[in-house]
């Protein structure tokens, strides 16, 4: 028995290469937490949510459990306000936007074409604001969690299409998102 196993693992025709699967997706993220804006800048045109993109790299689609990494870009919020007050400095127009780049580890369970994902990691939050005709770009890292569910639809040649529903929590920012996305799974890259 021992020699049989040895023979199999060494056989170049039977040993499976390490495969990496890459998925790319795009969707819309709706922020379900209230906007956390100051009373000074709370009265403008505020957009809470927007486009979300995702790139997920993970192990075999054919295994029950795989791990991987995911990243992407998410539009979080935007504010346009005229004549906002800034105590002690008079009024100013404000243009500000907030977006995030997730850098997360993901664990995936999949069976019967159903995928369940749990991710934990960080969002690199990037704020760009203009007040008093001066712009500031600033960023911070914030811990985040994601739970997601999707359904694999094979579309031939090892491609799959996955409608995915995602819940994301960005911890210190105190924001939660519900995202509906469509993901395209590419054929595996063999290493």
């Amino acid at each position: 028995m021992g020699s049989l196993v040895f023979a199999q693992t060494k056989d170049p025709f039977l040993a499976k290469p390490f495969e990496i699967y890459i998925d790319g997706g795009i969707g819309y993220a709706k922020n379900i937490s209230p906007g956390i804006v100051s009373s000074a800048s709370g009265g403008g045109d505020y957009t809470n949510g927007g486009i979300s993109t995702l790139v997920r790299v993970r192990g075999s689609r054919n295994r029950f459990i795989t791990v991987g990494l995911e990243s992407g870009w998410q539009y979080i919020s935007h504010l346009e306000q005229r004549n906002a007050s800034a105590t002690g400095f008079g009024n100013t127009d404000i243009t500000a936007s907030l977006s995030g780049i997730p850098i997360m580890g993901v664990i995936t369970i999949q069976d019967y074409h159903i995928e369940l994902h749990g991710s934990v990691g960080f969002y690199d939050l990037i704020s760009h604001s203009t007040t008093f005709n001066t712009s500031v770009t600033s960023n911070t890292f914030d811990m985040a969690f994601t739970l997601a569910a999707g359904y694999q639809i094979p579309i031939g040649n090892n491609y799959i299409l996955v409608p995915e529903f995602r819940w994301t929590r960005i911890n210190d920012l105190q924001k939660s998102f519900l995202t509906l996305a469509l993901r395209l799974g590419f054929p595996p890259l063999a290493l």
Partner: protein, 406 residues
Amino acid sequence: MKVLIIIVLCMTFCSCVDNNLPLPIPEWSENVDKLKNAVPIPEVLLHKLEGVYRVEQGKGLFGDQVVLRQFAHKITLACQTGTYFVFESGFVDSLAIFQGYWRFDLGTQTGLAELKVKKDFNAQTGDTSLVLSGSYYGNKGINGTPFELKFIRKFKDTSNTFLILDHHGGRNEYGLPYSENSLGIIPIAEEIGANGIELDVRLTKDNVPILFHDDNLSTNLVNGEFAIGPVNNYTLAQLRALCTLKDGSPIPTLQEAFDVILSKTSYQSLWLDIKTPETVSYVLPLQIAFLKQAKLSGRAIECWVGLTSDEHITNYLADSLHTQAPSICELDPPDVERAGSVAWGPRWTEGSLTNEAIQIRTEGKRVIYWTLDKAEFIVPFINHGNLDGILTDHPALVSYNYYSRN
């Protein structure tokens, strides 16, 4: 799948709940406000009520005894349990009436309270006939629970020189309706038993010293999701446009805090915790001007710039103004000497450091431990005796444990 849906729904619900709701300080409504037409009680008379009282009735909220202290036209009861009471005062007919609120300092319970005593009170050691009786209520002032306090003795230390410094200008773990390091919370610490405060100071991009604890802005401390990242990425004007503190007030400058301290409090001491070394040289001129202004207005107040690293000390000594700007050094005793600091601020977790504390005090410098928050640790430090004050998140608890000593 069902499990996943339930988990997502639960987490979504939890993420939408704001668990940092402010807990307002309750106020008596006008129709039951007995102090509306009361005659103010002179401070010297109120001072005669100070002392340790035994709880004869209503021990649940108080514990076995309380410490009663006066400041301005108010009195504060500091309890063994961590509860404190703050009362306004006035004479109504033959009675001294006190109305105010109580709050559990280690939780979120609060309510109204009232107290009365005969007009000719005078708490003297040996005289145990003085009894204060009253009731405490929930927020609405109904279904009162009676309590009775019997005078036992005056304080062992009546000098009021032991420093009880409230952390961050006033700590707000349990939902006070003011943010830490805000202008609104500064006068509150005095009600709770502090005779000084510690403020956190750092610089904006345009080098204005402001009160802010963390290196980074975050929605834990400010309303304003577009203000993120290092505080010193933003000018003061940009900060004021993009965010407020959680209580809705603007992030205050150190100068604004100085103005409030002089106009609205009677604090004896002020510890400026300088968060970055480069802040030191921007604070010294303001500190010196503040001390001069205090002196002109007849206020005896100490103000120390906090030195927390070698770089702080280097910047401090390199500034020619340092000779006029008293400092408190948090490093080792030799560093206290090197910086010429007037006070030493050791971290309590390093132990009592008795020999070092005695040595520092024999040189005429103060020793103030930080940050002591639990009675089990506060009491041994007070008992070892080689200290001039405590920096704390719970001034009422320190006040009780210091002044209830027999």
